[in-house]
């Protein structure tokens, strides 16, 4: 289970191993990952192997973030409001993988409904980082990241609204890929903020990410924001010569000189990033600096909070305990809706609902919500301008390796906010964006992110794959660092 998809596929085809055996191994690993890192909401002990190998993914086990609707399998969104909810339909992405013959092993823990970036707010408890159990995985695709990193299976599905795939990937030393908005149908993904939510995948190689998204994507008549990507072949494109030549960095985000009070960890992280840039140059890429108005960058976190909370407060209004979820107590309908929601949601979510309601109120909407939408447009326009000249933007992920679980992790450091939050740009514009591991600090993995223009997923993956090939982190398993 520590191998990549292609190698497992070859073994299956050559009958060196059966799907049944793979499933059994994966289940054993899953139990271990559950005990050590609390990565799963549900493990499916009755998961069955597949006899016929019809595609690269046939017979190979995988994990699903618990905010995907899975038919006849508990799907909680890691929330008490849905702690007993068993859907009667599959999310389109899951359905597509089922058709390819992929085998679900378990449903992974997330920050409740994808809100939060720590992996600590799920209703089944905190998810621990397989590289160091005293540290977090980041979130919200925490369980997916942890389980892929420790080798339960080659991939797990994630979802990304701000950086929920790409940040945990960095903290867990793996690959996290968020394709262009609408490439994968969101039908069946429990919504957090619909205009930002993107389905994606966590893997241990760029190649695997390409293979999985090839199978997940496609126009879906159940999602009006999905589009026809039938002429995009991610895996095949990796075998072709890339047309990408120029990439850029944004100094306002990654220049060490901007952080006069940088910790040694941050310094090391940014120096390591410089080394990655050197590799890019050695691969023949032109790397240039492009400035973005710092005022725009400083607004990122607020814009994200305003838009995502506003949409979330509306999106999660269907959780009333009337049709599904535990029925609340009370004599009137509004009373038992209130009771259901008071008991069901964690404090973090409630706080976000309050923010969301506040910014949408008539008297505040212009000042907060509408202005946030305007700033979002400005940022996206700026990025599109950059993408006219550059094939991709390359930036470090976060301020360093995974943070300690015990610590003031929930408070943003004013000085490094931009560095922590810049991945949200990818969601503002629906840009394809991938994180790959690019080194270690004190034995803990760190990551680098590559983001390109909408619909140019092939180019982004090609760049990531080339870079990956020049670094020793492809396919790495947590705890078994090879230097």
């Amino acid at each position: 289970m520590e191998e990549g998809i292609v190698s497992l596929h070859e073994k299956l085809v050559n009958k060196e191993i059966t799907s049944e055996e793979l499933v059994k191994k994966s289940l054993e690993k899953a139990k271990e990952a559950q005990e050590k890192y609390n990565a799963f909401v549900t493990i499916l002990p009755d998961a069955k192997g597949v006899n016929k190998i019809t595609s690269l993914l046939s017979g190979i086990p995988y994990g699903v973030k618990d905010n995907y609707s899975t038919k006849d399998v508990l799907s909680t969104g890691s929330s008490n409001t849905l702690k007993n909810y068993v859907p009667f339909f599959n999310a389109t992405a899951v359905e597509n993988l089922q058709k390819a013959g992929a085998v679900i092993i378990g449903k992974t823990v997330l920050d409740e409904f994808g809100m939060g970036g720590t992996g600590t707010t799920g209703h089944t408890g905190v998810v621990k980082n397989p590289w160091d159990e005293t540290r977090m995985c980041a979130g919200s695709s925490s369980g997916s990241a942890a389980s892929v990193a420790c080798g339960v299976y080659p991939y797990a599905l994630g979802s990304d609204t701000g950086d929920s795939i790409r940040k945990p990937a960095a903290y867990c030393g793996i690959v996290g890929y968020k394709p262009t908005y609408g490439m994968i149908s969101r039908y069946g993904l429990f919504p957090f903020a619909s205009s930002l939510d993107t389905c994606g995948v966590l893997t241990r190689s760029v190649e695997d990410a390409a293979i999985v998204v090839d199978a997940m994507k496609g126009l879906d008549e159940n999602d009006m924001t999905s589009w026809d990507s039938s002429d995009i072949h991610l895996y095949d494109s990796l075998k072709k010569q890339t047309k990408a030549k120029k990439i850029c960095i944004i100094p306002e985000i990654c220049d060490i000189k901007r952080y006069p009070h940088a910790s040694s960890e941050l310094k090391e992280h940014l120096e390591n990033f410089q080394k990655t840039l050197e590799i890019c140059k050695s691969l023949g890429f032109t790397v240039e600096e492009v400035s973005i108005d710092e005022n725009l960058l400083n607004a990122l976190a607020s814009v994200y909070i305003i838009i995502s909370c506003a949409e979330a407060t509306s999106n999660l209004s269907n959780l009333t305990g009337i049709i599904f979820g535990p029925r609340g107590n009370g004599t009137s309908t509004l009373d038992f809706i209130k009771d259901h929601r008071t008991k069901g949601f964690s404090p973090l979510i409630k706080r976000r609902f309050v923010i969301g309601s506040y910014v949408l109120q008539k008297e505040n909407q212009e000042r907060y919500f509408r202005n946030a939408q305007r700033v979002r447009r400005l940022i996206v326009d700026k990025m599109k301008e950059i993408f006219k000249e550059y094939d991709a933007v390359i930036l470090p992920v976060g301020t360093g390796p995974a943070k300690k679980l015990k610590g003031p992790y929930d408070i943003l450091d004013r000085n490094t906010t931009i560095l922590e939050e810049h991945l949200q740009i990818g969601n503002f514009g629906g840009f394809p964006s991938i994180t790959i591991p690019n080194g270690f600090i004190d034995g803990l993995p760190v990551g680098v992110n590559i983001t390109g223009n909408c619909y140019e997923d092939e180019k982004v993956l090609q760049i990531a794959s080339l870079l990956e090939s020049k670094m020793p982190y492809k396919g790495q398993i947590a705890g078994r660092k090879e230097k």
């Binding site: 039908y187 159940n222 999602d223 009006m224 509306s314 049709i323 309908t333 008539k362």
Partner: protein, 483 residues
């Protein structure tokens, strides 16, 4: 009266003529058992997404054109957020007036008490209906069949001055919806629901100045045209009474509801307590660009509307204004009449049969013309037979009755018993044969035994089994006996 009433309407009409609902593939029908026309999205199961039904957009644009409204370049939807057990998502997908919904700033000419009047339309928008609730002693039931049914909401300016005007407008609008194939417009099925706003202003003030209009009182959920009439009249009286007793100025702007049983409007809430619906753009439905070519097609497909048909009936067919009015009141009846015309039945004959005989039957049996057994082509057979004198008008009525009671074709009754031999050639042949076979009686008759004429009539009737046309028989006999 010292006061001028100012009345405005919000008319909600379900679009009943599409196969499926506004955002789901569940059937759009009425009389089904509860919770049978439901898709997951209608009950807001987590992860479900709205998919816009383009046919609803087409019909709503048609309504907008009929109302001479400005049409938007783009079509988009908004969320209206509030909690209520009949609203599964916790928000309704609807359209706000900014940006332009289906249409704004139009007008409609309608007839009231023989006069053509014009009402200004503020806007018309497309939205989804909520589920329906039934309340019992200590429990309530929810039926999701209605959840997601397309609804057109039309808002007029407060241009009506009487309940009669408001109701005449509603009747006109209902028949427009029927004529244009948008809705059955059946109030019994709850397809039309109204909110009414009423204020009164002093007669001597300037009406063009909105500040003179008085305090607007909104009356919610009036579900029949009779109710609209009664509620308006009640509210005008109530407000005049407040004026006369000097209490009017203390009355706050408020929402009231119409209590049908007590025939009173009752206080619900003041304007101050109005709910903030926190509208924002629905992120799951991309902007739909309205193609001007499509608009042209829609425009061309608008059928002739009642007022136009009425004019045609009077001017082209020479019908009385009364008959024309009776015919256009119900589209199905007007269609029946027009089918008669297409079959080349004389317009006045057709009008006479439809307005007197057929409507009489329909009313007697509380039947719809679409379910009526006797088709226009059957009617043509009967009318043709009568016009050829092969049956009398009394027989025509009898055959009409037999056709509808026995549900058989008219010709069955005409051939068997009632059809007279009225063909002159055929009768002459029969008669001349009889005369030549009774030479001695003929001579006796010619010699003055005139009562033998009846003997000859008797012979003809015997020969024809009584079917010879008696008038013609006498005429021909007289001629033949003289030969």
């Amino acid at each position: 009266m010292k006061y001028i009433p100012k009345i405005g309407l919000e008319m909600h009409c379900e679009i009943s003529k599409t196969k499926t609902k506004l955002f789901s593939r569940a059937r759009n029908t009425y009389s089904m058992s509860p919770n049978t026309c439901v898709y997951p999205v209608d009950m807001a199961f987590p992860g479900t997404l709205p998919v816009l039904n383009k046919e609803c957009v087409r019909l709503s644009l048609m309504a907008s054109m009929i109302l001479h409204c400005q049409i938007p370049e783009y079509f988009l939807f908004e969320r209206k957020n509030y909690y209520y057990p009949d609203l599964p998502k916790g928000y309704q997908i609807t359209q706000e007036t900014k940006p332009i919904p289906v249409g704004i700033y139009g007008y409609l000419d309608y007839e009231c008490e023989g006069q053509i009047k014009r009402i200004r339309i503020n806007n018309i928008h497309l939205e989804e209906d909520a589920a329906s609730l039934d309340h019992y002693y200590n429990t309530s039931t929810i039926n999701y069949n209605r959840a997601g049914i397309p609804l057109l909401e039309l808002v007029t300016e407060p241009d009506f001055h009487s309940a009669n005007e408001a109701v005449s407008f509603l009747e006109t609008m209902r028949s427009i919806y029927q004529y244009s194939g948008i809705s059955e417009g059946d109030t019994k099925k709850g397809q039309i629901r109204c909110d009414v706003n009423v204020s009164i202003m002093d007669e001597n003030l300037e009406e063009s100045d909105p500040s003179n209009w008085g305090t607007k009182i909104e009356i919610k959920n009036v579900n029949s045209f009779g109710g609209v009439r009664d509620a308006i009249n009640y509210e005008i009286k109530r407000q005049i009474h407040l004026k006369e007793t000097n209490e009017y100025d203390a009355m706050p702007q408020q929402t009231r509801r119409w209590d049908e049983e007590e025939a009173k409007t009752k206080y619900m809430r003041s304007k101050v307590d109005a709910v903030d619906y926190k509208y924002f753009v629905e992120p799951n439905i991309p902007k739909l660009k309205i193609d001007p070519k499509w608009l042209e097609e829609i425009k061309e497909s608008i059928p002739k509307l009642p007022l136009e048909r009425k004019q045609k009936y009077i001017e082209e067919y020479g019908l009385s204004s009364y008959d024309a009015e009776v015919l256009i009141k119900d589209k199905d009846i007007s269609d029946y009449f027009e089918e008669c015309i297409a079959l080349k039945i004389d317009a006045k004959d057709a009008a006479n049969w439809v307005t007197v005989t057929i409507l009489g039957e329909l009313n007697k049996n509380d039947e719809k013309i679409t379910d009526f057994y006797l088709t226009p082509s059957m009617l043509k057979e009967i009318i043709d037979a009568k016009n050829k004198n092969s049956i009398s008008s009394k027989q025509a009525k009898e055959i009409f009755q037999k056709v509808i009671t026995e549900k058989k074709e008219p010709k069955q009754f005409m051939q068997k018993e009632n059809t007279q031999i009225s063909d002159e050639k055929e009768l002459t042949e029969i008669i001349s044969k009889i005369v030549s076979q009774n030479e001695s009686q003929k001579n006796a008759y010619l010699n003055g035994k005139t009562n033998l004429f009846d003997y000859f009539v008797g012979q003809v009737m015997k020969e024809t089994k009584g079917k010879a046309n008696p008038v013609m028989t006498k005429e021909i006999l007289l001629k033949e006996l003289q030969k």
